[in-house]
Amino acid sequence: MEQATEPIVRIRNLSKSYRRGTQIIPVLSGISFDIARGEFVALMGPSGSGKSTLLNLIAGIDSADEGEIEIGGVEITRLGESDLARWRAVSVGFIFQFYNLIPVLTAFENVELPLLLTHLNRRERREHVEAVLNVVGLADRMDHYPSQLSGGQQQRVAIARAIVTDPEILVADEPTGDLDRASAEEILQLMDRLVHEFGKTVIMVTHDPRAAEKAHLVRHLEKGELSVT
């Protein structure tokens, strides 16, 4: 894959450590790398290698000790808490291992949630939600509650929720980790479509080699250091 365009994610000298009691445990130590627009990147590595921490930092839900992260021209490591929340609302789509849908809201309402943070009116929101539910093939299930959907269907609703605001990057933490093989395959195909058809940039943490196969680029993390495969 050629990297003709500007990188959408620029990471420079990123470090992060956790404090456990009096002990300081380094998780990431001075990582630097770029991700090009429209790329599908898989982050792999053993447990505790820091891949989830890296993903959280890129998604703007955790703060780095040192270094810079620039996404789509915004240096998110410099944003304050509420600016960061506003930035996440428009720029990042989240896909979680356990889907993290709100159980008391219907599929439609779950997908609509991120749009409540925009200036769209009710009718516009409905159009957007219906459009993305069509993309994930669940337009006929929009009034179902998460408990009435299968795991694969729930994950597709979660993907619809992630793309409804048309964000620049999608971050996925073990998106197939809780799914059977067939459902996992469906989800991976859907993510592949998002990259190829809709030009999304996807950054995915995974243990699943089949998931990693779909990615253009697999990056391995080991003890907080990065290596390219």
Binding site: N56, I61, D62, E81, I102, V104, R161
Partner: protein
């Protein structure tokens, strides 16, 4: 825009058993709160309705009630001839010189004795109290040992029903009628001919004088003149004011009692709400993390949980008022501390009480939900998401 209200509402609905239990606890407190207010309201309404704003009560100075008061006959004659006294259609002044005595009667159900007011009346007495209507039987004939009883006395005291005979002041008195005085204090009185009563009780003086003002605005000037007159030792009060003053001591007592009970209970209910909301927050840690990751601000999380808690309080308030509304069916009697006589009245619900009770329940919800909501909003996103 924040997190939709339906989120808060549906979470309460989802765990409806917990919601109902917690709301019931709060409802109980609101019930006590509303019931006390209703009791106070009922008491005051009863006593205040007893008076009419055009009527003036004259009592001996520094007497708090008619029972303690005495007005000499010569003073009474002087007061009767004042120009402010209205004149009836028959040309007689609308003024009644009455006798008020307390007697002890036994209750029908419990057989326990209690004080009842006996009022010696004149023909003008009825004209001064248009609310009093004869319900059964007839009025006592002047010069006879006959009495009429208020509805509430007739029902609750032995010997006070129509056709029965009462013994007091060393004489037998036949009950020839029962009167309906609406929700007023007169319902708890027994009326008979004044002159017969004064003889029987061996009273040389009247207890009080009640008259209708010719012009209701002339009261202030009248009061100043009469109270300043060296020949007179009376104090003038509007009848409404007189009965309001009577209700004040009891109302104050009820209010303090109600407040103390309510405050103690509400602490329990607030703690209950806090525990429920803490549990709600603990069960939804991942959800909170997800909402924050999606871009909702801390304050959106805070308000979503506060709204949930306010709704919980409101449910309690509605339950409590619903239960309290049935108290209106109950009539209770208590000692009127000003006259030491029995007074019957009902719990009275009005919009002021409903509004106050709902506000109270919502405040309980707010106080109970504040800490849990604050905790929810302070969570770190990464830690919350990891709680899966």
């Amino acid at each position: 825009m924040g997190i939709p209200y339906s989120y808060s509402f549906r979470n309460l609905w989802t765990r409806r058993l917990t919601t109902v239990l917690t709301a019931s606890g709060m409802g109980l407190v609101v019930f006590v709160f509303a019931a006390t207010l209703m009791l106070t309201e009922g008491l005051q309404k009863t006593l205040v309705q007893t008076g009419s704003p055009d009527n003036v009560v004259l009592l001996r100075k520094s007497s708090n009630s008619e029972v303690q008061s005495a007005v000499e006959r010569d003073q009474a004659a002087l007061l009767e001839s004042q120009p402010e006294v209205a004149v009836g259609e028959d040309g007689e002044p609308l003024l009644a010189k009455e006798l008020v005595v307390l007697i002890n009667l036994k209750k029908r159900v419990t057989d326990t004795p209690s004080n009842v007011i006996i009022r010696g009346i004149t023909p003008a007495s009825l004209k001064l109290r248009p609310a009093v209507r004869l319900k059964e039987g007839r009025m006592p004939r002047p010069g006879s040992a006959e009495v009429v009883t208020g509805e509430s006395v007739a029902r609750r005291f032995k010997g006070c029903g129509l056709g029965e005979t009462l013994r007091f002041a060393m004489r037998d008195w036949r009950v020839v009628g029962v009167f309906d005085a609406g929700a007023t204090g007169f319902s708890s009185e027994i009326w008979g001919d004044r002159d017969q009563m004064m003889q029987a009780f061996r009273r040389p003086v009247y207890s009080s004088i009640i008259f209708r003002l010719r012009d209701t605005t002339s009261f202030d000037a009248y009061k100043v003149r009469v109270e300043g007159d060296p020949r007179l030792t009376v104090e003038a009060k509007r009848e409404t004011r007189y009965y309001l003053d009577q209700s004040e001591a009891m109302a104050k007592f009820l209010r303090i009692l109600g407040m103390v009970l309510t405050i103690v209970f509400s602490i329990g209910a607030v703690i209950g709400a806090t525990i429920t909301m803490y549990a709600a927050v603990a069960n939804r840690v991942t959800e909170i993390g997800t909402l924050r990751a999606l871009g909702f601000q801390r304050k959106s999380i805070l308000s979503a949980f506060i709204i949930e808690s306010l709704l919980l309080g409101l449910c309690g308030g509605i339950l409590g008022i619903f239960a309290a509304s049935f108290m209106q069916l109950i009539t209770i009697s208590t000692m009127n501390w000003a006259s030491f006589s029995e007074l019957a009245f009902s719990f009275t619900l009005n919009f002021g009480i409903i509004w106050k009770s709902l506000l109270f329940s919502v405040v309980m919800g707010l106080v109970g939900g504040a800490l849990p909501a604050f905790r929810a909003s302070r969570m770190k996103i990464v830690e919350a998401l990891r709680a899966t």
